[in-house]
Subunit: 465 residues, 2 copies
């Protein structure tokens, strides 16, 4: 059966577009940041050139009941796009390019495998902002961003990837091409089908084209780092800044003292704009279009926050260089391997008011269960998103208690009714914990949808649930 399918795939796409066995390149077998490819053996990697070829691949796989997993930039970090044994990898990398910027409509139409940064740059060249931004911008692909409903640094102002999507072209499990390339902000003509595919991690269809909504490109930015002495004040600062900046607060990143200390004392090339020792540090910025007026407003907002004792100290970035150095501290989350060879990372969410209490409850549990463990807490708190990284000094890859740490944290999260995935999705890594955040009725409905859209279960089987 497999041999026959491979023949048909080769006939359909050309032999060069189908890699099998030893010829499969390592990059299809690993996540972007992993040093080693997975040990699994996919049946093949196919590299279609356009939507019609994607549809042809799915028609064949549907006919042969062949499991398929779509791949973008492999930056998702939840394992969802890693192929299992015997699966067909459907790489979207050759569907690449910006097809149209409609300046009147304020839309950008992009092929699935286009790197996010390429799409961002096409928008910026015409004075628009594509309001999705994340560290992996150079390597992630737009259809992957959409399939996982990516988050990132600007969610507080613009929302998740979902909110930037106006239209999609999707190939369904049986090869049907669903053209929902809508360019309208408002369209209530029947069910809004695109939402099925956004955030469902490739389990309900394969996205081949995206219409993004564009925003006006901000022309200036104000950035500050603040020291705050309690979590309640962090939340009060958030609300104060949102109200005073009237919707232009464009980042609100919180670092617990453990994070700030680790980064400014143990990671090379970092400097501390504020002294250590404060329980919280908040990095916030205003993106606007009037540098002079915005600077005044931003300073006034911070002065009021000082007067009201919401913050105890603040540093305003006075140059682009300083802005970068403030963000460099927050972005050091990508460099923890410098100090911790093995780390368990979490991407969770809770109602904003609960996050402080959650961290207070978590720390003694971790300390008790993993004596000597180290951890940091930080995240996009304005969006309810907390990241936690836990390391156990001296642990080896063989005895690192990754699963035990997961059980400990997710167990507490369940008590708080939080979400096991804020922005990275479930993939395979968090699948076992999905019932911690979703009720049996919700899981049953997810399965109903899966069966309805992919009755043979060929699309990314075993991912999400």
């Amino acid at each position: 059966m497999s041999a026959q399918l491979l023949d048909e795939l080769r006939t359909c796409l050309g032999a060069a577009a189908v890699q099998t066995a030893e010829a499969v390149e390592a990059r299809y077998l690993k996540e972007y940041f992993s040093p080693q490819p997975a040990a699994t053996r996919p049946l093949a990697v196919v590299r279609p050139r356009d939507t019609a070829e994607v549809a042809a691949v799915l028609r064949l796989c549907h006919q042969y009941r062949q499991p398929v997993v779509a791949q973008g930039g492999m930056t998702g970090l939840a394992g969802g796009a890693l192929p299992g044994d015997g699966e067909v990898v459907l790489s979207l990398e050759r569907l690449r390019g910006v097809e149209e910027l409609d300046a009147q409509a304020g839309t950008l139409t992009v092929l699935a495998g286009t790197p996010l940064q390429e799409a961002q740059e096409a928008a910026a060249a015409e004075g628009f902002l594509l309001a999705i931004d994340l560290g992996a911008r150079g390597s992630c692909q737009v259809a992957g961003n959409v399939a996982t409903n990516a988050g990132g640094n600007r969610v507080i102002r613009y929302g998740m990837t979902r909110q930037q999507v106006l239209g999609l072209e999707v190939v369904l499990a049986d090869g049907t091409v669903l053209d929902s390339l809508n360019k309208m902000q408002k369209n209530n003509a029947g069910y809004d089908l695109k939402h099925l595919f956004i955030g469902s991690e490739g389990t309900l269809g394969v996205i081949t084209r995206v219409v993004f909504k564009l925003e006006p490109l901000p022309s200036c930015v104000q950035t500050a780092l603040c020291a705050v002495d309690s979590y309640d004040k962090v939340v009060a600062l958030l609300r104060h800044a949102q109200r005073r900046l009237a919707g232009r607060l464009s980042a609100f990143e919180v670092m617990w003292n453990d994070f700030y200390t680790l980064v400014t004392t143990r990671i090379p090339g970092q400097r501390a704009p504020l002294p250590g020792g404060s329980p919280f540090y908040v990095l916030l910025d205003l993106q606007g279009a009037d540098a002079v007026a915005d600077a005044t407003l931003f300073e006034n907002m911070l002065e009021q926050a000082l007067e009201q004792e919401l913050i105890c100290d603040a540093a305003i970035a006075s140059s682009e260089k300083e802005t970068r150095s403030f963000w460099h501290i927050r972005d050091a989350s990508a460099e923890f391997t410098v100090v911790w060879p093995i780390v368990e990372s979490f991407d969770i969410s809770l109602p904003i008011g609960e996050i402080g209490r959650f961290v207070e409850a978590l720390q003694p549990r971790l300390d008790a269960a993993f004596p000597g463990c180290e951890y940091v807490h930080f995240g996009h708190i304005g969006d309810s998103n907390l990241h936690v990284c836990v390391s156990v000094p001296g642990a080896t890859p063989e005895n690192f208690p990754g699963h035990a740490i997961q059980s400990c944290l997710y167990g507490l999260l369940r008590e708080f009714k939080g979400s096991i995935s804020a922005e990275h999705g479930v993939g395979t890594h968090k699948k076992a914990y999905l019932p911690y955040s979703r009720s049996p009725a919700e899981l049953a409905l997810m399965r109903t949808l899966k069966v309805a859209l992919d009755p043979q279960g060929i699309l990314a089987p075993g991912r999400v649930f």
Copy 2:
């Protein structure tokens, strides 16, 4: 069978919560603005008090294969909530009240049948904005707003109702209660099920509770009316204002000359802040938090627009009274019956750049097909949403060519690939035209979802498609 079901409903809810036959009040049989109830005869109107009772009603109806239509404030204008013969009307009016405002999370939890205005006021009392607003705010109900994905005046800044919803409680067709009362901005733990129910007009489930996201409440507003001499300049003004106001443009309402002339010359109690004769009038506003700085920015933005010849004239409202009088012109769309006893109204969308050409193409078609007809064009153009109203002087209810006008307009819209419903939904009124805006593959997928979620087809049968 029906008698037995009625007995069971009475046992379950109490006899007073079940109206039948002549006892059915007229308000359940008509849309809010209609003078006359429909001639249909529902089997009963049931008025459950809470989610458990809604679930009990649906369990019974599912068991008896009894069609049910949920009702909110009856302000949808698409006919979707009007009962058909023999249907059970499920009124949500007794599920009323604001349950929680979580100021730290920035969320508002509201029961289904709560009037929108009550929810808005609860948010405002704590310094927050519930960013859904429409003319029917006093009579519409929040679950109806969600079920129809209502639009309104603030979509350009905050998006449709969909974007204000963080969580839902929904009763499925078989009576299963789906608790997805999420309070997090970010939550990628599996499929985001709420989107199935938002905008599906009660055909996939009955919404019983809503968690809304809250925005900071703006404290001041700048409003202007501008005269513009071409549609391309209308679009250029939109992009100019969005860029200069950096995301705080909070309305961009366009009135074609026909609308402005009709309102300012034929509707009593209106005054014209700018002389007539301009091809377009644009009402725009900035909502912010700094009255002095915002006024300067707003004036500068308009001065630049004048210098760049995007506008030929502008009036800035200098008082709250003047702001109201500017909006009074736009809101006169609700008073057309003063001059036109019968009118065919449209709520369509097209990519923003296409709207001008669409109107130019439409006018000669209407003139040719309906000699002497009158029409006005206006809408939330910043959101791609055009409203058209057409009247035929001298026509009587018996010979008014409503369907012919629909065919004419929707036929052209199909050529332009527009949407037959921007914000009001499909209901029953626009059902016949849905294939003009949706492909066979899209319609087939809608049917797949309907069958998966409501296999017996008891929820609002015959609505949408």
